[in-house]
Amino acid sequence: MPHGSYRYDSSFVKELFVDMGRLITGEQADPGSILTRLCELTVANSSVVAEYWDATEHGRGIPDAAFKSAPPYLFEDRAPARTFTTSGTTAAIKGSVSYSPLGMELMRLSIVENARRHILPGLNRPAVIRFVPAEEAAPGMVMAYGMELIATTFGEPELSDVVIGPRGVDYDRLAGALKRVITEGIPAVLIGGSSAFVNVCANLAQENVSFELPAGSRVVDAGGFKGVSTTIRINAMREALSVIFGIAGDGFINLFGMTELASQLYDSVDQPIGPLGERPKGRLPFVEPRVRSAETMKFVDGCTGLLEVIDLCVLDRPPVLLTGDLGIATEQGVAIVGRVEKAHSRGCSLTLDEITTLDIPNG
């Protein structure tokens, strides 16, 4: 352990962990103090981040690409309990994000608390139908972990199910799960990535198949249009989901999550802000989106810039992340409007970033 760093089992870390837990669950805790201590822990335990902050500014979000080059993990004296892999949407190189046992517990608390606040109001033991693999089938996928956690914490075990198999969506299983829900009259929560929902709606529409789920049913889409050929407007996707599954207009919830974050951001209001109808993501005491100017890196309001998220549920690495997304800062929160296109092609000119994503044989 470098001199001056905080041990995993130190009282400093233990007290910080307790306060972070209190903040998440709504007990008395000071977010400012927690952020200060998390930054202090980071500087003490990571010379790389300390130097990065020296070169930029104290507390600036570390770029998401950091998890590909030198993944930060603050506790040399405590092996990670769990490591997740980033999705690698724009580059072949995948990143890794490690959690200590305390870090895992904070992420668990955050996911559950956020789901309780945003997904579950008005529902009692709904059927949670997951459009992501089971955790066991995808142990490195944080979305599989998080959605299984929501299902097991809040879902009705007899009616909840996973409809993604080794070869993608298992339509027979999906139909069976939805029919059981309809028969029992229990509301369902359909939860998965946007691309999965778009593809499922297109396939079911082609087969002329639709369902009328019980009142109160809702869809939680976690964003991401990977594998979808064209960009889909949020409202168009929601209309398709209404037609296919009978979801009411107020039954849609969008969340923004990243492997690099322990917390998710949820829509604060159902008000389209972005060009595709993206809604603003609100702040909570334990997680806050904000926007930096693309010109100056200063914080801005009312315009588009780089999304930075302060996540006070992250113990094992710096609590601030430059996500690599563009966001529009509004009074209601930040509408997240797409990834920053780093590998921008200009006519016949390739950038180095771009060429590293091409399929070029070695040798």
Partner: protein, 517 residues
């Protein structure tokens, strides 16, 4: 250089099309295109009128084929000479429009025009014709071919469709000139990123020689406008597309089996300095050359240096990189970076943050930057931060052999390599880089200046356009022709005479220029 530093003008939406004078106005529709920033207008053939307009273009090509190559060269030369004058009114108008549509600074556009337009003066045109066709007058008539023991003639397509990109100001002139040199009519499809230059250039051409401008149609269709694209491409005998792989693939998919297709796809350019060369040079001068290689065209061109691999230990290379940073600042003082849109500005900030994070993890990585430029000292070529817009990566390598290994994975995409090496290092290095995939090697500082004679993308871009007709085993074909070697059948002499522009066949100096018919 004294270049004006002023705010870009904001004229009304520009007209970006050029229609030959013979086009019936009834066959034309007015189209407005809403750009992300400024929109533009064009007059273009109605969808159902493309066959009729194409018929006119074919007739215009027949007219061109009746002109001597010397007349065509003379007209292009006169046009280029006008445009090489920075005070030329057409050029000034085009410059202001390019500045407005691209956000590039005035000095950047001026410098781009300078290096682009000088390539179309007579000497350059004759050189490329002689290099690629041997005897330029094969475009006029069957000419003696010693290898053939007969005569040969080169015939350009009736209509070439050139699909341009907007990344380099003035680039459309290249495709238009190449097409006209082989006496082909041109459908010039401009890019939404820079749609204004081509029509202005052709307008000047029309003042010099209306028959050339009457063989050019400058137009535009949106990437989603499949109907117009299909109809327009369907009228071309040959299609030449510049652009990214995906865009070129879309074009290629629209091409029929009887049509020829040439693609100038995505390429990458870098530089390489040997340690011997580095130590033999004045670092201030050399750094200025690297700054020019990375800053011209705001690094948007496929010939612009994205990185320089420098042989030496990290400390030595870091010292030189700091010099380069200073040189980038000096270049930007005389020629500022253009306006970046939100996406480009965000990408640059994210890149810088990534480099700063990586630099924090290793002393082998450093970053210098100001508003208009970024220099990164790095230890690897792959995987990280370079976004164009004057972000130069300098990579320290322990040996030239290691530099070659670093470049090997990108070899098939290599275009232009600025090579700083000692004379005794050059033979092996040039051979290796050529075999690796590079298509042009030049001195540091000369990367933005390829000649028209350079085999762009490693191809003979004028010769690519023509079809040949040989006359052999015919008594007429073997008779001596004026201005050509006496012994046509002597194959042992043919290679030197047909390929060497200093030989009697193509002529030395002014003899490169055949007499006007």
């Amino acid at each position: 250089m004294d270049e004006p530093m002023r705010e870009p003008p904001t004229p009304a939406e520009p007209m970006i099309s050029w229609l030959p004078s013979w086009v019936d106005p009834a066959e034309v529709e007015q189209v407005h295109v809403a750009g992300e920033g400024q929109g533009f207008q064009l007059a273009r053939p109605r969808l159902e009128c493309w066959p009729s307009v194409a018929k006119g273009l074919r007739q215009a090509s027949v007219t061109l084929k009746g002109l001597g190559i010397a007349e065509i060269v003379e007209a292009i030369d006169a046009t280029a000479r006008r445009w090489c004058d920075r005070d030329c009114p057409d050029r000034c108008a085009a410059r202001d429009l390019v500045v407005t549509t691209t956000g590039l600074s005035v000095p950047t556009v001026e410098r781009s025009f300078d290096v682009e337009l000088r390539n179309y003066q007579a000497d350059a045109l004759w050189r490329v014709l002689a290099r690629e066709l041997g005897d330029p007058r094969v475009l006029d008539e069957p000419r003696t071919d010693a290898w053939l023991a007969g005569r040969t003639m080169a015939i350009g397509p009736n209509i070439v469709c050139q699909i341009f990109t907007g990344n380099v100001p003035g680039l459309p002139a290249l495709g238009i000139v190449r097409s006209l040199l082989v006496k082909s009519a041109v459908i010039a499809k401009v890019a939404s990123g820079e749609p204004t230059f081509a029509a202005r250039f052709v307008a000047t051409l029309g003042q010099v020689e209306p028959r050339l401008a009457d063989a050019v149609l400058v137009t535009y269709w949106d990437r989603d406008d499949v109907l117009t694209r299909t109809v327009a491409l369907g009228e071309a005998d040959m299609v030449v597309a510049y652009g990214g792989d995906e865009a070129c693939a879309v074009i290629q998919a629209s091409i029929g089996p009887e049509q020829r297709f040439v693609m100038h796809g995505s390429k990458l350019s870098v530089g390489l300095l040997s340690n011997g060369f580095l130590r033999s040079e004045d670092h201030e001068v050399l750094a200025a050359k690297l700054a020019r290689d990375a800053s011209m065209f705001d690094q948007h061109a496929c010939i612009a240096a994205q990185a320089y691999l420098v042989e030496g230990d990290v400390d030595e290379v870091a010292l030189f990189a700091a010099r380069v940073a200073q040189a980038m600042a000096e270049y930007a003082a005389g020629c500022p970076l253009g306006h970046l849109d939100l996406g480009a500005a965000a990408a640059r900030q994210l890149h810088r943050s990534e480099v700063q994070y990586r630099a924090a993890a290793s002393t082998a990585r450093r970053i210098w930057y100001e508003k208009d430029w970024t220099v990164v000292l790095d230890d690897a070529l792959d995987g990280h931060a370079s976004s164009g817009n004057r972000m130069l990566r300098i990579i320290a390598v322990p040996s030239i052999e290691r530099a070659i290994e670093v470049l090997r994975p990108v070899g098939t995409r290599l275009q232009n390599v600025g090579v700083g090496a000692l004379d005794d290092e050059m033979p092996a290095l040039a051979t290796t880089l050529a075999q690796l995939g590079a298509t042009r090697l030049c001195s540091p500082g000369r990367m933005p200046d390829p000649s028209l004679t350079w085999r762009h993308d490693g191809r003979m871009c004028v010769a690519d356009l023509v079809r040949w007709c040989d006359v052999e085993m015919h008594p007429w074909a073997t008779r001596q022709q004026a201005g050509q070697p006496k012994e046509a059948g002597d194959a042992s002499r043919a290679p030197a005479t047909s390929m060497d522009p200093t030989s009697t066949r193509a002529g030395r100096g002014d003899r490169l220029h055949p007499a006007r018919r």
